[in-house]
Amino acid sequence: MTTDNDKLKNLLKDLPVPEPSPEARERAVKAAMAEFNRRGAADKKNIKGFSFWGRLKNKTLKGGPMMTRKITYSVGLAFSLLLAVIVMMPNFVSYRKGATEQPPVKTVPAVIPPGPALDAGPVIREKALAEHKFDAAPESGYGRQQLEIAADFNRPAPAATGMPKLALESASVEKDAAFRPPDQTYAGRDRFETLTPNPVKAAREEPVSTFSIDVDTAAYAFVRRALNSGELPQKNAVRIEELINYFSYDYPLPADRSVPFKATVNVFPTPWNPATRLLHLGIKGYDLVPTGKPKANLVFLIDVSGSMNSPDKLPLLKNAFRMLVEALEAKDSVAVVVYAGAAGTVLEPTPVKEKGRILAVLDRLTAGGSTAGGEGIRQAYALAEANFDPKGVNRVILATDGDFNVGIRDPEELKGFVERKRQTGIYLTVLGFGRGNYNDALMQKLAQNGNGVAAYIDTLNEARKVLVDEAQASLFAIAKDVKIQIEFNPAVVAEYRLIGYETRLLRREDFNNDRVDAGDIGAGHSVTALYEITPTGSSGRLIDDLRYGSRPSPGGDRTVEQSGEYAFLKIRYKLPAAEESRLITTPVNREREYRTLDEVPEDARFAAAVAAFGQVLRGDPHVKNFGYDDVLKLAEAARGKDRFGYRAEFLNLVRLAKTARAMGDR
């Protein structure tokens, strides 16, 4: 024991630390000196070192703590109002700019750390602090740090040469902010996997396209959130397939329940390109009959770390889970694991009959601490396994902002863990919350590898959609590892391009390999995929014929090739408990081809509109002559019944995007 302790101590003592680079050291000294000189100058201006803020605080302190708070708040409020006025009146700003050396808050919007709207009060007070150089003891907060440095740049720089690194950064931020309207593409610190739109492929050279289905909807909710705050989402956040699959479509159902779903294919003119056509593939899974609902064994794994302490995170999450518990049936069971600095089970598996107990536990959750997400996941799976019901649905529902900073932190390790657990038959649902630090890439990885779905919850309505209205689809999988493979007929299709699904592409050989994981379909889920295809002989072809390439397709059957079929569709899936996949095949012939857009079923047209929207948002080159107005027109005519109002909301988002673009510079 002691030797162990000593060894640990020795190891810690001798931790190898590299030499800091002399440049960095020099930079730090310069930055500190600049700050020091600035402070000194500021002090001389103030009466005996008492700043306005300091004097104010001193005065108010005499009035007792309650009084202090009141005065502080009212001063804060006064400044907020003043600032609001200044911000809202650009003319006033320019007037002030001309009149004084120190322009007011114009620098501030860009440097405020992204936060929920409700935080505006304190943030604005920080602005006031930064602007007026109150000598409130600086805290360790970076936001304030940046604010002060940025504001300071209006003065003549103390050390013009060899400007410290931090200050330089702030300077450029400030400069940008001065010339840019506050609404701009939101870059934030949310982490997304990089997306490159699928390229156009020549059917003659590469006739086969393979991908996994994706029923996640997180991207749509994230895009909505960005647009609702007047910003265009970052391009990597726009996963078109998730935008499309956010909506439910009434595709035909399978005739009997021996197959879990049916595929429908339509071919119709591309709204954004007269020279091409869209191949629209719709899959609809059957709904569960209420009596046949399996028992649900759910483990809520809830992130209660400090970062969740914001109105759009933990409180929203609690409400979401409350709604889910209300929607469950008495036979189902719920367990709750929380994680922050440490992970712990706060509720052992409890039947929903005892709803009161579950709700009471949810109510008591508060946020605090760092995030030991890895350990939490382990415990949640352990509980789900302990309570495993082979006939029921066993699912871990993870709710987090994705900021795992303690425990298993390496995404690959986490991925490996959920991947191993997948084989035990436990499914995973990942619910993302919050913004500013949202780790979408990790959430997607977890969901994709843990037989799961990922959704992003930005509002209570979204929680209702995911956890109540679509609870069946979210909780009960009817088929897993669903893969799609399309072989295009080069006699009819010259080129094709898969729209979206960039993160879900599979290799051709993966299709028949049952060990390769793919997406799941829940009860009542619909899945849509769109290909833009260029018929042979169309003027819209992008790829030239090969000079030496006029050979017949290898191994193909010439008579089938001449049949006029567009493509051949193959779908592989596994039933939830099965390990072996089944195959559905269907030729795409001219039966369901439409000459004009108007004849096309509403659902297919709406899907095309959403696809167009996603591409316009991303600035994809294939839709360059198609704008938000065209999307609006297309979607408006295809709204259909729109029972829950989701499509109406989409129309609104398109309008918001139009405004956001007009304001931004994209």
Binding site: P20, A28, R39, N405, I408
Partner: protein, 179 residues
């Protein structure tokens, strides 16, 4: 100026003596960088943290109470800055991995066995809760007494001891069963 104590340098700085302040910064840069590096495991980040610490030092100089020692004070600013930096860091890289790679590239270093253990230890440190990590780094690695660490972390001495005890347990567990 080498003969002046930290406290004296602070006093001179407060009178507006820039060389005194510069001396203070240079004197402590190494310490601050070292702790920052142990905290985050990446040289560039540690340099950024150190710079930030000294900017804060300039800002807070006035609030330095003569009650505490200067060393305690600068350690406290460093720990807080490092914590914030990690939390708000734009790129949440796997710090422990970065640390290891850098070590391998930069210096062939001590014998393999020791090096391997150090690697694992750094990884394990990254998994500790912040408070435990701070206590362990200050006491076991930087060699502060429990009492001094308690002043840095602004908590009772027994809390420091308790955190170290807890951290030791987890560290040993991690070291024996690396995940």
């Amino acid at each position: 100026m080498d003969h002046l104590t930290d406290i004296e340098l602070v006093a001179l700085s407060l009178e507006g003596n820039a060389p005194a302040f510069e001396h203070l910064v240079k004197r402590h840069y190494g310490t601050v960088f070292r702790l920052s590096y142990k905290w985050c495991g990446l040289k560039e980040d540690a340099e950024d943290i150190a710079q930030e610490v000294f900017i804060k030092l300039a800002q807070k100089l006035k609030t330095f109470g003569q009650k505490s020692s200067f060393k305690t004070w600068i350690y406290r600013i460093t720990v807080n800055t490092a914590k914030d930096f990690i939390r708000k860091s734009i790129t949440k890289r796997g710090y422990e991995n970065a640390y290891v790679i850098e070590q391998e590239d930069a210096n062939p270093g001590p014998p393999v066995g020791h090096h391997l253990e150090a690697k694992r230890l750094v990884k394990a440190l990254g998994r500790l809760p912040e408070k435990q990590k701070a206590a362990v780094l200050l006491v076991l690695s930087e060699g502060l007494s429990h009492q001094e660490a308690a002043r840095v972390l602004n908590c009772p001495e027994r809390t420091v001891s308790w955190r170290i005890f807890q951290a030791r347990k987890s560290l040993k567990k991690y070291l024996e069963h690396p995940i």
